[in-house]
């Protein structure tokens, strides 16, 4: 239904989308999740050309909509858009808001547009508000009207950009119920949302966005229960991360330890755990791994703390020859590190030039 190839969106000082490649099938209900600033809204705004992509192609039903010759208005008729801030016309009442586009663009008669508008309003429980003005409605009611307005155009897909994030918490449920109903009816939906429970329950596919694209794409079970990629895992498990790339043997050891202590304080990690983390870092990374690395090297250190599980993991990734730190001749350092750890695991990897991965669960 929609094919996106090498989509890039660049602004003067940011590139939220670097290279997006995805297929959206008819009937898909896709939740788009990810940290702030990862291009989730930009992606759906590019799909209906509210933002002009810098490069790349978007095909809708085989038609390349990024082609300059394409009739944008015609394409937009296939896509409904629901915004975070409703975007209703305040000088029109509810039914007028709903009737305007079908009359203008689909050339429906006033009666047809009215009848269908009322029918749709009934499905979202707002038929009695047809002649009210937007400022007479609550946030939840406004958003339900905005959804009806999108539906009135009989679109093939509805793009929802954080449809509940501007709502009072008491009104989130009523809007979610309407969206859930659309999904049940088999409409193709793409929803940017920060509400993970909703994202999981409503979708058949989840896009986790990061690093300028759809970083991981899977079923809700795959993304929420068994994410495969590092950043998805961090996001799903609410991991707090402290990461540092070391490229010189004269790196700022004191600064590193100070930052690690600050990370611990900020995330309420027990001081004893941070003490052990410093000990494991010094013994394994500084005493065992660093002396083994060549002059030009890279050693990535990451601490990941789960506040829910109160667990702290340290991962070391380094280049150079294969070196299982558990076989270090430095038995004293290893003994100290082992004493401060629940487990020390090693794996050979081939990832961004890194060859070795050590994963330590701090005691």
């Amino acid at each position: 239904m929609i094919t996106i190839r090498h989509l890039k969106k660049e602004y003067a000082n940011a590139t939220p989308l670097k290279d997006v490649n995805v297929e959206i099938h008819k009937g898909d209900v896709i939740s788009v999740i990810g940290p702030s600033g990862t291009g989730k809204s930009t992606l759906i705004r590019c799909i209906n050309l509210l933002e002009t992509p810098t490069s790349g192609e978007i095909f809708v039903d085989g038609e390349c909509i990024t082609d300059k010759k394409c009739n944008i208005n015609k394409v937009r008729q296939k896509m409904g858009m629901v915004f975070q801030s409703f975007n209703l016309f305040n000088h029109m009442n509810v039914i007028e808001n709903i009737m305007a586009a079908p009359m203008d663009l689909l050339k429906k008669s006033k009666q047809e547009a009215y009848d269908y508008g009322i029918e749709l309003l009934r499905t979202v429980g707002l038929a009695d508000k047809a002649f009210n003005y937007p400022d007479q409605l609550s946030g939840g009611q406004k958003q339900r009207v905005a959804i009806v307005r999108a539906l009135a155009m009989e679109p093939e897909i509805i793009l929802l950009d954080e449809p509940t994030s501007a709502l009072d918490p008491t009104m989130v449920g009523e809007v979610q119920a309407v969206i859930r109903d659309l999904a049940r009816k088999g409409l193709t939906l793409m929803i940017v949302t920060h509400e993970m429970r909703f994202a999981r329950e409503i979708a058949n596919r989840v896009f986790y966005m990061d690093e300028g694209g759809v970083y991981e794409d899977g079923t809700p079970e795959e993304i929420f229960d068994n994410p495969k990629k590092e950043k998805t895992i961090r996001f799903i498990k609410h991991l707090k991360v402290f990461e540092h790339l070391i490229t010189s043997k004269d790196f700022d050891f004191i600064g590193f330890n100070t930052d690690l202590e600050e990370f611990g304080r900020r995330n309420q990690v027990a001081p004893k755990t941070i003490y052990r983390a410093q000990s494991v870092f010094e013994e394994l990374a500084v005493q065992c791994v660093l002396p083994k690395l060549d002059k030009d090297f890279k050693l990535n250190v990451a601490f990941e703390y789960s506040q829910e599980e109160e667990t702290l993991f340290m991962t070391l990734k380094y280049d150079g020859d294969t070196f299982d730190v558990r076989n270090t001749p430095n038995v004293i350092s290893f003994a100290i590190a082992e004493n401060a750890s629940e487990s020390i695991e090693y794996a050979e990897i081939d990832e961004d030039g890194f060859k070795n991965l050590v994963t330590v669960k701090i005691k």
Partner: protein, 98 residues
């Protein structure tokens, strides 16, 4: 890390406070090296030592070897965390911990 030294005859007491790690161990090593001469008893007071790494242990081992030839070395007021390091590395058998 701070180092405070008190000489009483041929007995040198060194109070080491703070962190004895990769960056501070060389400082303690240099400080002890310049004071070994004529000493028959070296007392290391670790009452305020909050962190000890293998880099610090190596300095203790070197000092122990020097003092074995000219007298004795004892470590005092070791807290639980530091003592754990001595135990897991087997240093409890090499050092005299009071």
């Amino acid at each position: 890390m701070t180092i405070e030294k008190t000489l009483n005859g041929t007995e040198l007491t060194v109070v080491v406070s703070g962190k004895l790690d990769t960056t501070t161990a060389p400082e303690l090593e240099d400080s002890l090296k310049e004071s070994f001469e004529g000493i028959t008893r070296l007392v290391l007071n670790f009452e305020n030592l909050s962190y000890l790494s293998s880099a610090g242990l190596r300095v203790l081992l070197t000092s122990q070897k020097v003092m074995n030839k000219q007298g004795e070395m004892v470590i005092q007021n070791v807290n639980e965390t530091i003592n754990e390091i001595f135990e897991v590395t087997g240093f409890v058998d090499v050092l005299t911990i009071e």
